[in-house]
Structure formats: structure tokens, C-alpha cells
């Protein structure tokens, strides 16, 4: 299948392609589904939400982190996001601004409130744990289509009476901690139900299960719980999202490195 044709895919072209699904290679089908998933989220504008992260170690001891998240939809580029940390108390007021780009390295600034210092940081440690959790920075970053190479595997039931596309994706960006990921996305609404992460040696390392999906503005689906289990260490991290608001009218001025200090 001609890649250029897919890049200019219009809804009409997509429906024609669907009819011709038998002729599609698994790679082309995987990419088409990723683009469709991405297209379903176009137009949300901006969103704000509160996130509570609960970290659990093998012995069952827990610790929590809370942050407020703001996202501005990118037009012709990746999304812009701002995370404002509330707990642990010693990092309260710290915030992180990220301009994500497809394959190009993200631009990232960190604001340290004790010094009132805004620091531009490099985003090489993508595989590093976010706040000591089982989520790596790359798991929480903006999921742009071009960040992966896709391969369609199969369609299967994935609970709740849903049917899912099962697609393998291999990170195309540098410094990923994964050799591949296998994702389950429901065929109807394109909600990410489950992702399995395989480490650089090829072993199954982590499984992310997203649930409690709610629809906003009558169109956009967001999960309220994201649960990451690390199979190698026995540790887990649960993200609970609350107060989701979409289309709140945030502007690029709210995602400026000079605005981090507020």
C-alpha cells in the first residue's frame, strides 16, 4: 500500500480502504488504525484535570503524588502540556512544561519554586521513571502517530462486550526503553484498553490497563483509572484522573516558559 496515499487519507479514502481491508498489509492496517485513533481526538482544544498517582511496592506499601495537568492541543505539531505538582510536599509548586514533537526531541522546561528558576532540560531519559513510579516519561508523553511503526495483529474480544484491534507498535524515537508495545484499542470508539510493554531484551515488562472511560463534549473519551503493573519487579502504579474539563479556553500564553512561575 502506498504510504503517501495514506498520508492524504480523507474519510472517503478511509472507507474505501476499509472495503479493501483484505488487500492491506498488517503494517498499513496498523498505521491506519493509529491515524484513526488520533483523528478521533482532534478538536478537543485544551483540557485540564487532576491526577492522583498511587505507587505500591512489592510489600504493599503505598505512597501518593498529586498533580494538576493542563494540555493544549497542537495544530500541525505535538501537544503542549503543563504539569503542576502538589505532592509530595517537598516538590509542591514544581511545574514542568513540555512541547512534544513527533520524532524530534521534545522541548522541556522545569520550574523550581525554591530558587524561582526555570531550567530547560533535555528529554533523553525517556525510559526513566516519572516521580519514582512505574510510568516512564515516554508512557505519559503525547502519543503522536509518527512516534511508532505499527503492525496489525488481530481483532479479539476485550471485555465489557467490546471488540478490540490488537496492534503491535515499535518506538521509532530515540532512547525508548521498549523493544515493542502491544496495544488493545476498542473497534468502536478507539479507546486504549490495554498496552503491554516489552523491555529492550524482549521480555514482557509492564501492562497498562485503562478503565472508567467517560465521554466529554459528546465526543472525546478519557479514562478515569490507569493501572500499570510491572511484572519484573511486582511494583504497580495507579493513576486516578478527576475533574476532567475539555475546551476550557486555555491559550498558548498559558503554556509559555514565563508563565511557569504562576
Amino acid at each position: 500500500m502506498n504510504k503517501i496515499m495514506i498520508n492524504v487519507a480523507l474519510p472517503l479514502v478511509i472507507s474505501v480502504l476499509t472495503l479493501n481491508a483484505m488487500a492491506e498489509t498488517p503494517e498499513a492496517k496498523g498505521l491506519r488504525i493509529a491515524k484513526e485513533t488520533d483523528a478521533r481526538d482532534v478538536g478537543f482544544g485544551d483540557s485540564t484535570a487532576d491526577m492522583m498517582m498511587t505507587l505500591k511496592n512489592r510489600a504493599g506499601q503505598t505512597s501518593t503524588r498529586k498533580l494538576h495537568s493542563k494540555v493544549l492541543e497542537g495544530k500541525g505539531d505535538g501537544d503542549k502540556s503543563l504539569s503542576l505538582f502538589n505532592t509530595p510536599a517537598d516538590v509542591k509548586g514544581t511545574s514542568m512544561l513540555t512541547f512534544s514533537h513527533g520524532l524530534k526531541a521534545d522541548d522541556q522546561w522545569l520550574y523550581l519554586p525554591a530558587l524561582k528558576r526555570v531550567k530547560r532540560i533535555n528529554s533523553r531519559n525517556k525510559s526513566g521513571p516519572f516521580m519514582g513510579s512505574e510510568f516512564a516519561f515516554e508512557d505519559l508523553g503525547s502519543q503522536e502517530v509518527e512516534k511508532y511503526k505499527y503492525k496489525y495483529l488481530r481483532e479479539e474480544a476485550c471485555g465489557k462486550g467490546w471488540k478490540c484491534h490488537v496492534v503491535e507498535r515499535i518506538p521509532a524515537y530515540k532512547y525508548s526503553g521498549y523493544s515493542k508495545q502491544i496495544g488493545w484499542t476498542d473497534t468502536k470508539e478507539h479507546r486504549a484498553v490495554k498496552i503491554e510493554f516489552y523491555d529492550r531484551k524482549g521480555s514482557k515488562m509492564k501492562t497498562l490497563v485503562s478503565s472508567g472511560y467517560k465521554q466529554y463534549l459528546g465526543k472525546y473519551w478519557r479514562p478515569s483509572v490507569m493501572s500499570m503493573q510491572n511484572h519484573l519487579t511486582g511494583k504497580s502504579t495507579v493513576l486516578q484522573w478527576t475533574n476532567y474539563k475539555l475546551g476550557t479556553g486555555l491559550s498558548k500564553r498559558d503554556f509559555n516558559k514565563n508563565a511557569l512561575k504562576r
Binding site: 509530595p88 517537598d90 524561582k116 532540560i121 531519559n125 530515540k174 508563565a259 504562576r262
Partner: protein, 394 residues
């Protein structure tokens, strides 16, 4: 604290109290213990001891986070040095953003710059030199700021209506010069003394991987000149007027950060340049641990050569930073300054880790080696120390 300054704080508080609504209250209380490795160099100086500090914080945001009121008072009690027992208003201000404009009024802290081992460009706030040993603690500065925000940067104007004198260790304190600094009788070049109105401008912009800042400051120098008063056995402070042009530059690659800060400073008596520049290289994900390591190298130059206020005239800083990225947020920073002219060396280690709910442990140690008699650090060479601080956040 000076009477006029108290009055100013009071009027700002009254002005702002109208905005007080249910906000967010937090802060920390810290207990610090210091142990000095050597006996004191000068008579009267005490050995290590305990110190307790309190820094509550009240923050209220409204208007979709476009308006923020912040109040951060600070107080430290020190067992050994009465001069170190001191209080300050670290922040008491309102910031308002509207469209492309941002306005700030009150007492606050402003940081400029990019390098790690020395902050040359940073000049708005006076250093609270007695509070910490690394010069990163600052006194609250009364200011008005207007910024015009653009897509990739901002242009800011600062009006600084009141000057804060630097804090210094007393006769009993460590980290002092042979003669202690007289903090009572201070002289200024400006006849308006601490009421001289200073101003500053900063233009900052991001060009893809490069962040650049250009700054200009015209006002009272934050660093005093010293003259020995042998009759009273003290060092007298004199604050000259200063014009400073500053440049800060950072290139952010995937593994490399290249950083540069340069200043030209002009007073009635001197005109000189100083530069600090270098790189930070990061190794991500050491082994499978998720920890990262950064190596830092920065070179310091000062055109004045080895004088009392320029310890880093031809010096090299080498450092390593380790972040374990664990649940406790464990971090270490170790570094050394080497004077390339006379081989004087400073070694410094900092570490921090959360050790329970709302509790953080900070460790700091510093030692001096091969300090040359002519080096400005000579008066501090017996002040190598280990410091353990326990912070409770609320």
C-alpha cells in the same frame, strides 16, 4: 530590619489583604545541625551547632490561575551566631496576567541565568549569605515588574524601589573574614542610600534548541566593597552604583547542555568582565535502574584577577549529579572547584532524600584543600563542614 522597610511591608500587606480568600497554606520547618571539621580560625568563632528555620507559605490563585497572591515569611534561629538568627519576607506579592501582559508588585525573588556552579547574571535579589553557604539563599526584593510575553519569550522591566543589604556572619559565626563585617554602619555611593531606585530589563527568547537572555541592570551593586576599620576591628561595607550588562545562553541537545553566562560590570572605580561557561552531559537509565547521571564542567574567568570579590578568576568546576529516580527522590551532587592559578580547591557534596510522609533529609558537606594564602577563600579554609538538615513539610 530597617524602619522604612517595615513600613513598606506593612503598606503592601494592607494593600493585598483585600485579596485574601481561602487559599492554599503550606510550608516547612527545618532542623539543621552543623559540624565543622577544623577548629575555628578566629577568636570568638564557635564550633558547629543547631539551627531551626520556619518558612510557611500562603498562596491564592484566582481568575483561572491568571492572578496569584503569595506570602512567604521566613525566620531562622541559630544556636551559635546571633547574626544568623534573622527573619525575612521572602515573598509578598501579586502577579496578574492579562493577554500578552504580566504585572507583578510586592516583594519577591527573581532568578536569571543558566549555569550551575556560579550565578553571574542573577542580580535582582540580595544574597542571604548567612543563611546558606552556597549563595543560593536570597532576601526578598521589593519590586514592580511588567512583562510582555511573546510566543517564544518575554521582555520584562523591573523597578526596584528599595535596596537590601547583604547579611554576614557575626563575630561568633563561621564563614567569615578575618575581621567580621560591620552590618550596622554601611555607606552608599548614592546619596539616596537604600532608597535609590534601581531598574533592570530582561529580554529572553527561545530559538529552537537555544534559550538566550539579555539583561541590563542599573542600580546599587548587590556586592559591597570592604575597607578594614582596624580601630574597631571590623570590615566596613560600601555599596557602589553599578551598571551590569548580562548574557545567558543555553543550547539544549539530547544529551548535551551547553551553558554560558557573561557580564560586564561598570562602577566609578572599575570596569570588568566575568564569564562562566561549560557543559552538562547526561547518561540516562544507568543499567536497568532508571537512575541518571550527569557530568558537569564549567570554567570561570574574571578579568580583575585574584581580588577579594573574585574567588573564581581562573577556576574550573567539575561535578557529577546522580538522580536515582526512586520513590524517595534520592539525589546527589558532588563537585570541586579548582583554581588553575594557585591550585586552591573546594570540594562540595549535596544529597537529599524523602524519608517518610512530609519528611526530607538533606546532607551538605564542604571542605577546602591547598588554599593559597593570596586566595580570597583563605579566610574560610578552616570552615570545612558537614551539615544534616531534616525538613518537615506541611
Amino acid at each position: 530590619m530597617k524602619q522604612q522597610y517595615k513600613k513598606l511591608i506593612l503598606s503592601v500587606s494592607l494593600l493585598l489583604s483585600a485579596t485574601l480568600q481561602a487559599g492554599d497554606f503550606s510550608g516547612n520547618i527545618s532542623l539543621e545541625g552543623r559540624y565543622f571539621l577544623d577548629d575555628a580560625a578566629y577568636t570568638g568563632q564557635k564550633a558547629g551547632g543547631l539551627s531551626l528555620s520556619l518558612q510557611p507559605e500562603y498562596k491564592h490563585k484566582w481568575n483561572n490561575d491568571h492572578s496569584v497572591f503569595t506570602f512567604i515569611p521566613f525566620y531562622r534561629w541559630d544556636e551559635k551566631d546571633p547574626e544568623r538568627t534573622h527573619g525575612d519576607i521572602r515573598q509578598l506579592d501579586v502577579t496578574m496576567a492579562k493577554g500578552d501582559w504580566e504585572f507583578q508588585a510586592g516583594i519577591s525573588k527573581v532568578f536569571w541565568g543558566v549555569t550551575e556552579s556560579q550565578h553571574l547574571v542573577d542580580i535582582i535579589n540580595q544574597t542571604d549569605a548567612i543563611d546558606g553557604s552556597d549563595g543560593e539563599d536570597k532576601l526578598g526584593q521589593p519590586l514592580f515588574r511588567v512583562s510582555q510575553i511573546s510566543d517564544n519569550g518575554a521582555l520584562s522591566f523591573y523597578l526596584l524601589p528599595y535596596f537590601r543589604e547583604r547579611t554576614f556572619a557575626g563575630t561568633k559565626g563561621r564563614f567569615r573574614s578575618t575581621l567580621p563585617v560591620d552590618t550596622k554602619d554601611v555607606s552608599y555611593e548614592s546619596s539616596k542610600e537604600e532608597k535609590h531606585i534601581d531598574y533592570a530589563v530582561r529580554l529572553n527568547h527561545t530559538f529552537d534548541k537555544i534559550d538566550v537572555g539579555l539583561t541590563y541592570f542599573d542600580g546599587t551593586s548587590r556586592t559591597p566593597l570592604f575597607t578594614p576599620d582596624l580601630a574597631n576591628g571590623v570590615l566596613k561595607q560600601h555599596y557602589p552604583l553599578l551598571k551590569q550588562v548580562g548574557l545567558d545562553l543555553q543550547y539544549t541537545g539530547e544529551a548535551w547542555l551547553w551553558k554560558l553566562e557573561a557580564v560586564n560590570r561598570e562602577t566609578k572605580k572599575e570596569n570588568y568582565n566575568a564569564v562562566v561557561g561549560g557543559f552538562e552531559y547526561s547518561f540516562p537509565g544507568i543499567g536497568d535502574s532508571g537512575a541518571d547521571l550527569s557530568l558537569l564542567t564549567e570554567y570561570h574567568h574574571d578579568s580583575r584577577g585574584e581580588v577579594i570579590n573574585a574567588a573564581f578568576q581562573n577556576d574550573l568546576f567539575l561535578g557529577a549529579r546522580v538522580g536515582l529516580n526512586d520513590v524517595e527522590g534520592t539525589e546527589f551532587l558532588a563537585g570541586t572547584f579548582i583554581d588553575l592559578d594557585n591550585q586552591s580547591k573546594i570540594f562540595r557534596v549535596e544529597g537529599s532524600r524523602r524519608i517518610g510522609k512530609g519528611l526530607k533529609l538533606n546532607i551538605e558537606a564542604q571542605t577546602f584543600m591547598d588554599i593559597d594564602k593570596s586566595d580570597p577563600l583563605n579566610s574560610l579554609k578552616k570552615d570545612g563542614f558537614i551539615q544534616v538538615e531534616l525538613q518537615k513539610y506541611f
